[in-house]
């Protein structure tokens, strides 16, 4: 029997873990503290007597109130939500079918197509926005949610396709062969057997796609011009920083509220999403 030494476990496990947790969570803590801090605490120097940079003794919801009442934040939140959901749904549907085809159907050039899709994912958005801006203008979609709902899939579809292709490949092909013998068409077998079995993979692709479009900045910055059409990441940065004045309290309140939906989405599906990335199906 191996005798576990307690100090070893502390040294190699608990202490590094604690350091890591503090390191990763500190920005969130800072964000929360700043959002709750009254203005007089925010705009005084750290060297002042009684300064408490790491906590506040007079928490206030004033910044949240200002944010919701004086800015278009509710609009931004709604826009972001709508755009993220629609573009995720579009991308998931395309990704499921494309991923299935690339994983299962043997057709001429299927491998080339797979690689080509991957390469499009590698093209940086900072380059792609130039031609896309042209297209958006020609189609008169600028400053409408559709500008983003249709451009986000340009990087979400390749992403979903690749993630799902990998997942579909882990599903034994006998499952669908059996379904086809049982009386399903190829399409029927895909919809009734493969998709339900792939739910962990589909959910994790969905969460990632949702997060990516929720946090997207460049396209949102370029294609949306009026204040109330903006998304949270762009709105917070462009409306709450005026010249060289940072409305820190409201900025952080906006960031905090903006990250809540993503955090909820993750925690809700965390189990699925772990199996989606790591795992296959056990018969």
């Amino acid at each position: 029997m191996v005798i576990e030494r307690k100090w070893k476990k502390w040294l190699y496990f608990y202490i590094p873990m604690a350091i890591f947790i503090v390191f990763t969570l500190f920005p969130f803590y800072w964000m929360a503290v700043t959002a709750l801090r009254p203005d007089e605490e925010l705009y005084r120097t750290w060297r002042q007597a009684n300064a408490t940079p790491f906590w506040t003794l007079k928490p206030t919801l004033e910044h949240f109130k200002n944010l919701l009442e004086t800015t278009a934040f509710p609009h931004w939140l709604w826009n972001t939500m709508l755009i993220a959901i629609v573009s995720t749904v579009i991308s998931l549907i395309c990704g499921m079918f494309a991923g299935y085809a690339l994983a299962r159907l043997k057709f001429r050039g299927s491998e080339f197509l797979g690689t080509a899709i991957f390469i499009t994912y590698l093209v940086p958005q900072t380059l792609l926005f130039i031609p896309l801006a042209d297209i958006i203008r020609d189609m008169h979609l600028g400053n409408t949610p559709w500008a983003l709902m249709l451009t986000y899939p340009t990087f979400l579809i390749p992403f979903c396709t690749w993630l799902l292709m990998g997942y579909f490949k882990t599903i034994p092909k006998e499952l669908e062969e059996c379904a086809r013998i049982d009386g399903a068409t190829r399409f029927g077998a895909m919809v009734r057997i493969i998709f339900p079995v792939a739910i962990p993979g589909i959910l994790s692709a969905g969460i990632f796609a949702f997060t990516l479009s929720w946090n997207e900045f460049i396209y949102a910055l370029i294609f949306m011009s009026s204040a109330e059409m903006k998304t949270v990441p762009v709105g917070v940065v462009s409306e709450l920083i005026r010249g060289d004045i940072f409305f820190w309290g409201q900025l952080m309140a906006g960031a905090l509220l903006g990250s809540i939906p993503v955090a909820i989405a993750y925690s809700f599906f965390v189990e699925y999403y772990v199996t989606g990335l790591t795992g296959s199906v056990k018969g």
Binding site: E174, E177, C178, R180, I181, I193, V197, G283
Partner: protein, 364 residues
Amino acid sequence: MANVTIRKLNKIYDGRFHAVKDVDLEIHDKEFMVLVGPSGCGKTTTLRMVAGLEEITSGEIRIGERIINDLPPMDRDIAMVFQNYALYPHKSVYQNMAFGLQMRKYAKDDIDKRVREAADILGIESLLDRKPRQLSGGQRQRVAVGRAIVRHPQVFLFDEPLSNLDAMLRVQMRVELKRLHERLETTAIYVTHDQVEAMTLGDRVVVMKDGLVQQIGEPLELYGNPANRFVAGFIGSPAMNFAAVKISETGGALWADAEDLHLKVAPQLVDRMRAYIGKAATLGMRPEAMQPATGADPADCCFETVADVVEPLGNEILINFRAGGAAMVSRVDPAMRVKAHDKLRFALDPARMHFFDEASGAAI
């Protein structure tokens, strides 16, 4: 009538790999036909072509009078049991078994009746609400079989269904499958690489190698009269013993000679062996065809050797020794007292002597 007729069936992958070559098979109604052979011999490919999961390069497959070459799997009226069971992991046992019937738009009561009937036959009524991952290997196997039998298909296809089970369970399921087949009286095609499974289950057995059918016959016929050296070596455990011999004629009799063997060719083989006088051939002897000499045996079918390794298995003893320049195994009565390095004298039953052509391997 659900006989399956396979004519000149070929499968060529990507225009290069010829997996199945001109296979001709006639599987009778209600027959349990086993395809057996080493891996890569084309047996599974043949089965998958019958199932419609693999395109047919050339040839024809009929079930009854229907040519099914171009029918999709769902229209062939077959059911298949896969090696990994292929149970739908998100469906309960009941739903797994009902799926095929639902797809075929059976009435709800009818589905329920059939599923419960099949579950009863297989003894899995208590598992109907479980998910596949909550089942043991043997139970999954039963569900997979149950899913196949609910539809009352014309033909059952089995693709190595027992190879994922442990040895004990495999023997038990083998018997159950045989019993099930007798009860259901449905034509079955069964693929395995295990010759014991093939011999115990099959009404007839097809031995395949490199995409070619080597021999088709009843189990005992394959064992007693193998068509070639491959079948002789593949069927039977321990395998048939082979020795390279030279055929000669002395004193009106034919003799098979190797370094320490001098055996008289059995009378029933003499006519056929005459063509090989002065030439080489392969002598084949089943382990049980060589027994310790009693003294009453004619001297011209005996040989002497030294026991190498002795394997006392309880119901039999396997004696390993060398003779004719090859390692050989004999299966003897467990009452015999023998240890390693004992000098032994064996007598070969002349009626069970086999000869094979050196070059082609065909039985002479």
